[in-house]
Chain length 203, copies 2
DNA sequence: GATGGAGTAGACTGCCCAGTCTAACGGCTC
DNA sequence: GAGCCGTTAGACTGGGCAGTCTACTCCATC
């Protein structure tokens, strides 16, 4: 099995996976040889498929950001919709993969400025825009106080991830992304963006 | 002046400064030779002073985290105290230096786990604890709703920095840390943590 | 069974780097 | 002026790495 693991077609896939794991564990400075060994592939094969180390890295990061994306579906009430999103968002962003991709992209942003911008657009910005659209609708329907939806989305995602991400990045310990904590954050957000005054159904 | 810039005593300082700038601009992988050239010093001198590249790096990062710290003094009302803190905090954390130190420490946290932990303790944790103490007092005095001060501090610092920091890290453009935006965040925080109900002086 | 495409092993080039070592320099004190 | 200390320039060691090149092996197709 270790002698003949070559269905010859999905070598590309295998290579991407190996490179992904290697870059996550060791950063961009991992050597091509180590990636090749990991994928059980000759070094030259990597150059055949991706042209250069930079090409491989770019492909891996583009794939990585997609794997972290979270979308939100809004059918229930605002709180449960936001809570569901919050749980999924934290699960992705604080996962070992999410932290590793974040770390690697931060580290290499100055070396690959275009890639870093793309990462930002297709990661944080995309999430924020989707969330802002939802919040805008909720504001229109009077379920949230009228305010800048983009600002609200920024603040919400910030509250969900920031401190725990710092902790994971620097202490290298996985953060316990437990549901009660997440609910606390959702409620703190809702308190700040609740509709102005309950004049209609309260005295 | 460039031929004899050697007061022979503060070579140590000059070295630290040069290393600081070099690490910020190029990351840990900057070569010792480049740092030496920058400080106009022989390579051997670096080893005399710091023992190794790692020793120099550790010293630079420890100094860096201190330079970013923000303390808060609470004499005025809550809002103006928090606003003052918020402005100072954003100015430090989103400054080119703040972003560069953050980037470097994130990138090297796996190589220097002990240093990264120290960074976290003496940076984000310290700030959060100071802020939490202040918030706890404000809660005791009824100026803020009773809640977990540590959580409130986490959320506040998150709202202040997170999204703009991402933007700076990935797009490499400096974020406009303008005062109105900061005030918006402070007010969003205060809305969420305002005292429960104005039962005393309102009907 | 010849051809060609994809993969492989490994040698090789050219480069960079951390850290050590040596010999010399300059200033300081006694 | 002898001795010492910190500094300096540069050679040197030992190592790693990206990317190229060559010679070879499969394997599928025709």
């Amino acid at each position: 099995m270790s002698a003949v693991p070559k269905p010859t077609a999905d070598i590309h896939e295998r290579l991407l996976e190996a490179a992904c794991a290697a870059f996550r564990e060791e950063g961009y400075q991992v050597s091509i040889d180590r990636i090749a060994a990991r994928a059980q592939v000759a070094r030259q094969t990597i150059y055949n498929h991706f042209g250069s180390k930079e090409g491989l890295f770019a492909e891996v990061m583009r794939q990585g950001v997609r794997s972290i994306l979270v979308t939100l579906e809004g059918d229930g009430d605002v709180r449960s919709t936001l809570l569901e999103f919050a749980l999924a968002y934290r699960a992705k962003v604080l996962s070992p993969d999410g932290i590793a991709i974040f770390r690697t992209m931060v580290a290499e942003a100055t070396r690959f400025p275009a890639l870093a911008r793309q990462f930002f657009r297709e990661g944080p910005m995309r999430t924020r825009r989707g969330l802002a659209r939802y919040l805008a609708r909720a504001m229109d329907q009077g379920q949230l106080r009228r305010d800048d939806p983009a600002l609200a989305a920024k603040l919400f995602t910030a509250m969900l991830a920031d401190f725990d991400r710092l902790q994971a990045l620097f202490t290298l310990r996985r953060t316990a992304a437990d549901a009660p904590k997440t609910a606390q954050v959702v409620d703190a957000f809702l308190r700040s963006f609740a509709p102005d005054a309950p004049k209609k159904d309260a005295p």
